[in-house]
Amino acid sequence: MTVRIDQAKCIGSGQCVLAAPDVFDQSDDDGLGLVLISEPPAELLPGVRDAVDRCPAQVVTLEE
């Protein structure tokens, strides 16, 4: 279970941070999405899946 953000296409909407604040943050430098925990424990996966679904730029992925 690996979480990734494709930085090249991220628009920094922050939807992932709203969906799973323990797993994602936004960079102070450019506002783009950051993965804090790339191998999140099971209890955080619903939030991660929500982030994948909500991301308007479709750049958050969870490799199952």
Binding site: G12, D25, Q26, R54, Q58
Partner: protein, 397 residues
């Protein structure tokens, strides 16, 4: 053989002021349908949740809006023309070049830092409303001035120009707007903004959005001014309308309002559900895209060059959530389309969320008995804008 006539898009005569234009739901009930816009342009209307997400995110649909279907019956295109800084009509890398540097100003944590200040602005306006006494007009007392002050602060422009900001937004979003009148207002606003830009340059600040654009991007001056005006206008018209529409929706559904009053700490989730439901219920066809190659959506082929318009009635699609046609403030937040979707999704969404959460929570906590002074169906609504909302909301408490 002649083709079946394309029916005009239903866009008037809402049966209920918070509902869709008469005949709209019926017109889209069989899936994608081609309709004729008041300015004479035809477009496919896409209404399924998956279909709308596809149109707004698939790069085979361009955001170039030159000649787009519009609700105007006269005049000329005011919005959506290709000009420097108009990222709303750009695709791919050109769009990202302008959009990405703005993300910092709307970061979730940055807006969280702004919340105490937003609260202060809301409190001041509710204090003033209380002092003036009932009945009050919620639109002029709160809905308009609060987002106006907040967006001015986020951009870093002096609030004393509020009236000019509001007038420019009106010209920009008027259905039958005049390009010349909009340009005259924009020019006046450019004069104000140029002074602000000089000050930001001198101070070197990146603490507000204009400072950030001036001192930490490669934006040209014409791009920067266009973006600043667009953000000011968008920040005025949208949040203010939606705070009013949310309040009216709650007035009409006392059982749902009771949920907010019981648990104002859940205002974040409640705002998402109100956004989903309110936008979905208003229906109507809006945002347009143009196919750059043939694309299949919901079983029809949109041919290269054809226009597509999405309807956010897709927020009421059962594939998004169960009993999607009902407002349920106990529902968990779902991936609604109230702020759009795709790379052009509302840049100010997180700002709007913060404002709407604070406004709703504070209004109904401070004035638990606030209620409409006249029936909602008898209030005046603004139909002359591409943005929609109540003109006045008379309340007592």
């Amino acid at each position: 053989m002649t083709e079946a006539a394309v029916c005009p898009v239903p866009h008037e005569n809402r049966v209920h002021p918070l509902g869709a234009p008469a005949g709209f739901a019926e017109a889209i009930s069989d899936g994608p349908v081609k309709m004729l816009w008041p300015n004479g342009v035809e477009a496919w209307v896409i209404s399924s949740y998956a279909g709308v997400r596809k149109v707004l995110s698939d790069p085979r649909f361009s955001a170039n809006k030159d000649g787009q279907p519009e609700m105007r019956t006269e005049g000329e295109q005011v919005l959506g023309l290709p000009e420097p800084g108009n990222m709303n009509v750009m695709d791919g890398d050109a769009h990202l070049r302008l959009r990405r540097p703005l993300a910092r100003a709307f970061m979730v944590k940055r807006l969280n830092e702004m919340r105490p200040r937003i609260q202060e602005i809301v409190d001041e306006h509710l204090d003033a409303m209380e002092r003036a006494g009932a009945p009050a007009d919620l639109v002029s007392s709160v809905c308009l001035p609060v987002p106006s002050l907040v967006i001015a602060e986020l951009l870093g422009v002096p609030p004393e120009h509020q009236a000019l900001f509001q007038a420019t937004a009106r010209e920009m979003f008027g259905k039958n707007g005049s390009r010349a009148e909009y340009e005259a207002k924009a020019e006046e606003l450019d004069g104000v903004l140029l002074k602000v830009v000089q000050e930001k340059k001198a101070s070197g600040t990146t603490d507000d959005l204009i400072g950030l654009m001036v001192n930490d991007t490669d934006f040209q001056m014409d791009e920067l001014l266009f973006l600043a005006i667009g953000l000011l206008a968008a920040g005025h018209e949208t949040t203010s309308n939606f705070f009013g529409l949310f309040t009216l929706t709650l007035f009409e559904k006392p059982d749902q309002l009771a949920i907010l009053k019981r648990d104002p700490g859940r205002a974040d989730v409640i705002v998402e559900e109100l956004m989903r439901y309110t936008v979905g219920r208003l229906g109507g066809a809006g945002l347009a895209r143009r196919a750059v190659e043939d694309v299949e959506v919901d079983g029809v082929t949109i041919k290269a060059g054809e226009w597509v318009a999405v309807t956010f009635q897709a927020n009421l699609d059962e594939s998004l959530c169960p009993h999607a046609g009902e407002l349920d403030l106990e529902r968990r937040a779902v991936s609604h389309l109230g702020f759009g979707y795709g790379p052009h999704q509302c840049l100010g969404a997180n700002l709007a969320r913060a404002e709407l959460q604070i406004l709703l929570r504070t209004l109904f906590t401070r004035f638990p008995d606030v209620r409409p002074a006249v029936p909602v169906a008898e209030m005046d609504f603004r139909e002359d804008m591409i943005t929609y909302g109540a003109a006045t909301i008379p309340v007592v408490w």
